[in-house]
Symmetry: C2
Subunit: 551 residues, 2 copies
């Protein structure tokens, strides 16, 4: 009588023997990757197994394995690991692709024309969109509901500011949301008002919920379409993995539903929208890695403050351009500690948005307190870590706190940052080098869809502190520039480490996933301007082509 | 240069060749199954492949395959397909295992003693439980909050009636829920009141939500424990697949989370708790079969009325024991049609609870209307189909409506049914044979945890119309009895068909899953009393042991 054990052994023997014979190689490449320590490794061919993992990096002159099942000759093209965006809003990016995008409007009138045109063509019950930025319009103030009424008044309209931290409603939307002069500012938010206290149309931070909760939910098909649009956009830019910073239950169901039918092609490190979502979705702790390391809810996203542009970032001293206003701390110290402890208790990773220096101090204080109780490899994350009091810079490394930052914010926002903070409080602003020098780890991203999820622009910005036009000449506070390799690490091994994924992806090495890109140039040798303009020719995930540029 | 195509072909060739050599057999069994048409097939051995599917039923005297990797000799034990419960509340069963169970209390005082004892030992902030039945207590009325206060008054207590359609609160619970004489009965529910209109402590149907919404939610660990408790209980009774009738988002996350870590051992056919849950969880249509056919959200559960015991079932004529009361229709005709259409539009299967004859008529009317638009293989389900006007009996078969019924309800409830309906309105009550005769399909279950999920009791009841004590002699309205094979079909092929799973499980046949039981007796030859007492020795799912009785 055979036992089940013999059955398993026999089956295993059948599977193991031919494995080495089923590999393939991508040959004849200008292959580059960082190793685990951040040193550059060059190779000529990449050997990949049937499961899509790297078997070996084959160096120049090294012999190729004999029994390969397939071989692709890339004739010297550049091959690098897939890029990772450590901070994005996946479904937000997707909806942005499907809705009205005001990101490149240059004035209020330009925006109104765009909105009027879109509303004229759209049958939707609500006109929805995002991307406006009154700084870009050089308006000097927030827009108003009355102005938006000129573009669309027959239906409610609700348009999110580019950073997601403010919203612009027309009169109909304010009416449906029940917002009047009598409506109080909710905790953690503000209703913009005229001198007599009447709402003028813009809502800041938590106040946006007043309208958001009456906006009809997207249908499942719209969610699926948004998912696919976001994925396509990221893959086309060479992003093979991303953190999703604030996954809701509905986001998660969409992601899983698409993954269940084989449509999840990149990797999503999900941070739940708050403690309750994590407990409802993931349960008693992080989920396992699902779909062959393509999806995991490993952490919780919290917010300590708002955004600089809408003066929601919480500062230690008044805004230079708004005396008496220090911004908004969203949580008391106790609230923040309680939320972070609740997550840490069940081994969730904590990722806390902190933009202003006071907010960053609050989170660093909380981490210091929590580290007495919650030991081990916690990898606390501060998201944005945008404006830091120089006194607080060394505190990141002290408890292993990762600074998850977005280089393109520095280049986009420098004029606005100077206006908000004045010339004397910029020492700890977008302080990449200082943080590295003090021993902190960096993880880079874009905060899409607040910015385009373009990692080449981000990488170039980290090396130059200059925008696409090369301004300012010499770079903004260039002492904070990173080397080409250090910037690359932020978008690869650093971002993977920040998601507890450094043994799975982020670099090309035996046993890690064959997630890689074929580029039109060598990003280590080209000029920064050329780096910024890098074109992705192909994006591969788990040893399969996930995206190919049109020829 | 090799192409990817050759790579795939080579890899496939390596996998295909040895497959037939990796099978095993369960040999020397008294094997019995129904075939797709419901005829009995007997076999002597079961050949199973490495994926856990049946390769062949080996008949008496037939040669065994030569190259087998394993063989188990069962020395003549009886082997049958796993049983399927077509209507249960999975997480409800789990929580019942963990909470106070009043199902076998025999009087009000017995229950109060049990509650007092449990509260004395429990640190919980709320005393929660279920299973009470004032009919069993022969109380003649509902219990009161004042009575419950005698058992626990320092904390809120909330106890669900056995059928889930009523709840019993103590004074503290009523207070926390804000229920006073001024509180109106909500739509679809009723607050039991004294002569001066003051709530007396029991809430019926939708009124239970008033308290349920202030009861603290279970923690993720409690949910996981409940999941495992429910699964263990079902597997121990020989249930290898079940429909979950009203899966909430939290239920789904728990099921998926446990399945993700390999802890889902049986098969769950999930019917979402209403349209909105289906759209949020499954999205634009049913989910695929997940985890190798272990989980799928394929349908939507709706409620047309309440329960007979609590007089929530909607009747065409007054309750015999409550003149002026016809029960509660939960939805207007339009509401029911809209909800069913919304589900059918996205190809969800509809399962509608209808207990009273008026409710059954309403649902049959809706199906008739919808069938003009929603054609194809819809497999509309009416859950319980308990009291049907004989005029309506043929309407089930007309549009392929499945009657999903629970045989043990008939044996448990006959005295109560006679009281509620009087002696002259029982012709279409629990009318199994009449429905079959008219060409309808049956799916059997237990409605656990309202009843124990014991399929052997259900099967025996379907054959005898008698309870465990053999009452009434000769059976209750015995013309509705089913044959031994017909009852078996209800718990196997009929239940699988009701879940669109007849090509996956429910019978043992080549290509279907090897879900089977080893029993201590042959259920086709033993007496009905012996059938009722069948013991499961082992439960196998997908060719692996999922549960083994203690020796």
């Amino acid at each position: 009588m055979f036992t089940r054990f013999k059955r398993l052994a026999a089956a295993a023997a059948l599977l193991l023997a031919p494995a080495a014979q089923a590999d393939g190689i991508i040959d004849n490449v200008n292959g580059i990757t960082l190793d685990a320590k951040g040193a550059v490794v060059r190779f000529e061919a990449l050997q990949i197994d049937p499961w899509g993992k790297v078997v070996a990096l084959i160096a120049k002159g090294q012999k190729r394995p004999k029994k390969l099942v397939w071989r692709i000759d890339l004739k010297g093209a550049t091959l690098v690991p897939g890029m990772i965006d450590a901070h994005g809003h996946f479904m937000g990016l997707g909806f942005q692709q499907l809705q009205l995008d005001l990101a490149d409007t240059t004035s209020l009138d330009d925006a109104l024309a765009r909105i009027r045109d879109h509303a004229g063509r759209s049958p939707a019950k609500w006109i929805l969109g995002r991307g406006w930025n009154q700084e870009k319009w050089q308006l000097g103030r927030f827009p108003t509901a009355a102005e938006l009424d000129r573009a669309v008044s027959d239906r409610p309209a609700w348009l999110e500011r580019v950073d997601g931290h403010a919203g612009w409603a027309n009169s109909r939307a304010l009416e449906l949301a029940g917002i009047t002069a009598a409506t109080k500012d909710p905790a953690g938010g503000r209703i913009e008002r005229d001198a007599s206290g009447r709402p003028t149309g813009v809502l800041i931070d938590a106040a946006t919920d007043l309208v958001a909760k009456v906006v009809p939910q997207p249908t499942p098909r719209e969610r699926n379409a948004a998912f696919l649009a976001a994925q396509e956009k990221l893959l086309a830019l060479g992003i093979t993995a991303t953190a999703d910073m604030g996954t809701t239950i509905d986001d998660w169901e969409t992601m899983r539903g698409m993954a269940d039918i084989g449509q999840l092609r990149l990797r999503i490190m999900s941070y739940a929208h708050g403690v309750e979502t994590a407990l409802r979705v993931a349960g008693a702790g992080p989920t396992p890695w699902l779909y062959n390391d393509r999806l995991r809810m490993g952490g919780i996203k919290l917010y300590a403050d708002g955004a600089l542009g809408s003066r929601g970032a919480w500062l230690k001293a008044d805004y230079a351009d708004a005396p008496g206003n220090k911004g908004l701390g969203f949580l008391s110290d106790d609230q923040l500690l309680n939320l972070m402890a609740r997550g840490a208790m069940d081994n969730f990773q904590l990722a806390v948005h902190a933009i202003g220096d006071r907010a960053n101090q609050q989170v660093l204080d909380a981490i210091e307190t929590l580290s007495d109780t919650y030991k081990g490899d916690r990898r606390w994350r501060i998201e944005h870590a945008q404006i830091i009091d120089p006194k607080d810079l060394p505190r990141f490394a002290k408890f292993g706190t990762i600074a998850s930052m977005q280089p393109v914010h520095q280049t986009s926002d420098r004029a606005m940052a100077e206006a908000r903070l004045g010339p004397d409080r910029l020492a700890g602003a977008y302080a990449w080098r200082s943080l590295l020098r003090d021993g902190s780890r960096l993880a880079f991203g874009s905060d899409y869809p607040v910015e385009r999820p373009d990692p080449w622009a981000g990488w170039a910005a980290s090396a130059t502190r200059q925008d696409a036009q090369g301004n300012p000449p010499g770079g903004w506070r260039p002492e904070e520039r990173l080397s080409r390799e250090e910037g690359w690490a932020g978008f690869t091994i650093g971002a993977a480490y920040a998601g507890f994924a450094e043994d799975k992806f982020g670099r090309l090495a035996p046993g890690l996933w064959a997630d890689f890109l074929i580029l039109d140039r060598d990003p280590l040798v080209v000029s920064p301007a050329e780096l910024r303009g890098t074109k992705v020719l192909e994006t591969w995930v788990a040893g399969q082509r996930a995206w190919v540029a049109k020829k």
